[in-house]
């Protein structure tokens, strides 16, 4: 009875090890994401299974997927666990709004400058912490401190909007009107495809790094830094590269956030919870994998949205995040992406046991 299932699973396991396995899966996932807004309207036998998903919530799903994908390039690949990526997210958001509102620049230029600033801040954090050999807990706490530092800095500097933050400028103040050039749209659907594009780009970057020599260097640092450095990998330089690339792309969802919502404040973009929302999808999906952050976000954020809608109690979605985090770390630390291979192992041991019985 298990045979058709087993052969299917085995075939999938073989497919995953081929060079085209992961890219094909990514194409499948992105095709699904491309039609997801329409799928919400599809009804089967009179019920629409995805009808409860608001466009707003799947946009946020992709925002956190993009941020987690960027976080993963550093923390997943090099193993330097950052708990302060809200810093880069917030820099991206603030740079985009500030440069657009005060200097009339295109938000896209603002986003690019914000990404460079975030990369610079990442470089600063990296130079300071890696040079002094901070690792593990200490590195995590240091990154958190660098993020909280920015929160209080922005809260207290009137030039940067202070605690009340910034209002998004109207599109006609710096462009001809809503549209792609203005990074503002009259409806939510174009926003969805913009953030989907961001996610696709960051995923491709992540995939390319994953498959390149650079990726192998980063993995070597993760597995054993002293050994990596002993075989001649300049670990300090590659860790810096990792953190700045990661920071650069984390600024993108931040910039998107700024252009999607009406206001940004230090306590929303630099919040302690933002750090968690950024790393949560990668943890749930599988740290250090390309598919993980996307799958993790697709599971965790709609799940919390579902619970929020079902119970209508403020704060309950945070409890859902908490439960998901604990359950994943305790029972499946390699994340959701490891489930098919775990199934294969399970089936193999079961058949082995069965054949023993026959004998």
């Amino acid at each position: 009875m298990g045979d058709p299932l087993r052969s299917a699973v085995e075939r999938y396991a073989r497919f995953r090890t081929q060079w085209y396995g992961l890219p094909t899966l990514l194409v499948v996932v992105f095709s699904f994401l491309a039609v997801l807004p329409m799928l919400r309207g599809v009804s089967l036998l009179g019920v629409s299974p995805l009808g409860w998903l608001s466009l707003n919530s799947i946009i946020l799903t992709l925002v956190w997927a993009t941020a987690a994908q960027a976080w993963n390039i550093m923390s997943g690949y090099t193993g330097q666990f950052s708990f302060g990526h809200a810093a880069f997210f917030g820099i991206g958001a603030y740079a985009t709004i500030l440069l657009t509102a005060d200097f009339g620049l295109s938000p896209w230029v603002g986003m690019l400058i914000g990404s460079l600033l975030a990369a610079g801040y990442g470089l600063l954090i990296g130079v300071l912490t890696f040079r002094y050999g901070l690792e593990g807990h200490y590195f995590g706490l240091a990154t958190l401190a660098f993020a909280e530092l920015l929160r209080y800095l922005f809260n207290n500097l009137a030039v940067l909007g202070g605690a009340s933050g910034f209002f998004k400028p109207l599109p006609r103040e710096y462009a001809s009107g809503p549209g792609l050039a203005a990074f503002q749209f009259a409806t939510d659907l174009p926003y969805y495809y913009v953030i989907l594009g961001f996610l696709a780009l960051v995923s491709v970057v992540s995939l390319v790094i994953n498959r390149s020599q650079l990726g192998y260097y980063l993995f070597a640092i993760r597995e054993r830094e002293t050994a990596a450095s002993a075989v001649g990998i300049p670990t300090f330089r590659y860790k810096l590269l990792g953190i700045s690339v990661s920071a650069f792309f984390t600024a993108w969802p931040g910039a998107f956030w700024a252009m999607y919502f009406n206001t940004i404040r230090p306590d929303t973009v630099f919040d302690l919870l933002v750090n968690v929302e950024i790393l949560l999808p990668a943890i749930v999906g599988g740290v250090g994998t390309v598919l993980g952050p996307i799958l993790g976000s697709l599971i965790a954020i709609p799940a919390s949205e579902f619970v929020r809608q079902s119970f209508e109690i403020p704060g309950v979605n945070n409890a859902v995040y908490g439960i998901i985090l604990i359950a994943i770390v305790l029972y499946s630390p390699r994340g959701v992406v490891s489930w098919p291979s775990r199934l294969v192992e399970l089936l193999r041991t079961r058949t082995a046991l069965l054949s023993d019985d026959v004998r």
């Binding site: 708990f83 901070l134 807990h137 530092l149 207290n156 605690a163 306590d267 995040y321 908490g322 604990i326």
Partner: protein, 324 residues
Amino acid sequence: MDWCFASSRGEWIASAVMAVPSQLGGLDATVPLSLPGPAILAQYLVFAVLLGGIYGLVALGLTMIFGVMDVINFAHGALMVVAMYALMTASRMSGVSPFLLIPLAIALLFILGVGIYRATIAPIIDAPQENQLIVTFGVLLILTSIVQILFGSDPQKLELGLGSFRVAGVFVPEGQLYALIIAVIALAATWLFLQRTMVGRAIRGTADNRDGAQYVGIDVPRVDMLTFGIGAALAGLAGAVVPLFQSITPSLGDQYLINAFVVVVLGGLGSFPGAFVGGLVIGFIQVFGLAFLEGSTYQILIFLVFILVLLVRPEGLLGGASDG
């Protein structure tokens, strides 16, 4: 994405921080722009010591778990919050003075701590450090959510009728003074427990060298369980004294947690005297920063000091002394 929750928390923290000096004795912190007289300085000094003592107490349980188990307990602040609300509810329902209920809060938190350890920390104690960090953050989210659902997010105050008295022209707020006295007693009791009892020796031995402790026959998982329980109980004590001088919200723990991290690293991981030295440093920066700098700028200073210590002396000001 419940951003209303996040934002109301941020505003609340801001207002709480602003409220500290007024609760400390009715002084307006932003007024003295001119050079302060000795009386004002003495007043600030008293406030700084009181606040520093409380930070030291908050950091005590955190530094113990960190020192013995090498686990960053993100749930520490949330455990404090559980104790705050438990104490307040018990006091309101029974009409008993909250001072008499403090042992109850400690016992409750010890049991909760042991439960959390067995359910979430014990299975992954040998896993990479970030796994424990994530799990304790999960516990933080769950505990804060539960408190928020049960009690709402509006600030609540325990009316004790505590005032303040004057010594040589300096105001001493009673609530904070009692909190400081309790903190010192807690420090002394924990110190004696660690120095003079067999269990205390086992805990110190485990903190020194986990493998070595195992070899000489110490039941390390049991020590871990006790340590986490005692750490949580100390969080409970810290949480129980907070309502004596401050109104409480479910997210109050976050503010204490972040500064307690700073205190722990500043003082040196696992160092009890270090926790109080670090607490005093943070207390001084906060009180004098509130007095002479705008808004919550002092918090920036706290993080700068923190980063500096992490870089230059990650073992902390009193680090190296891991003797409890």
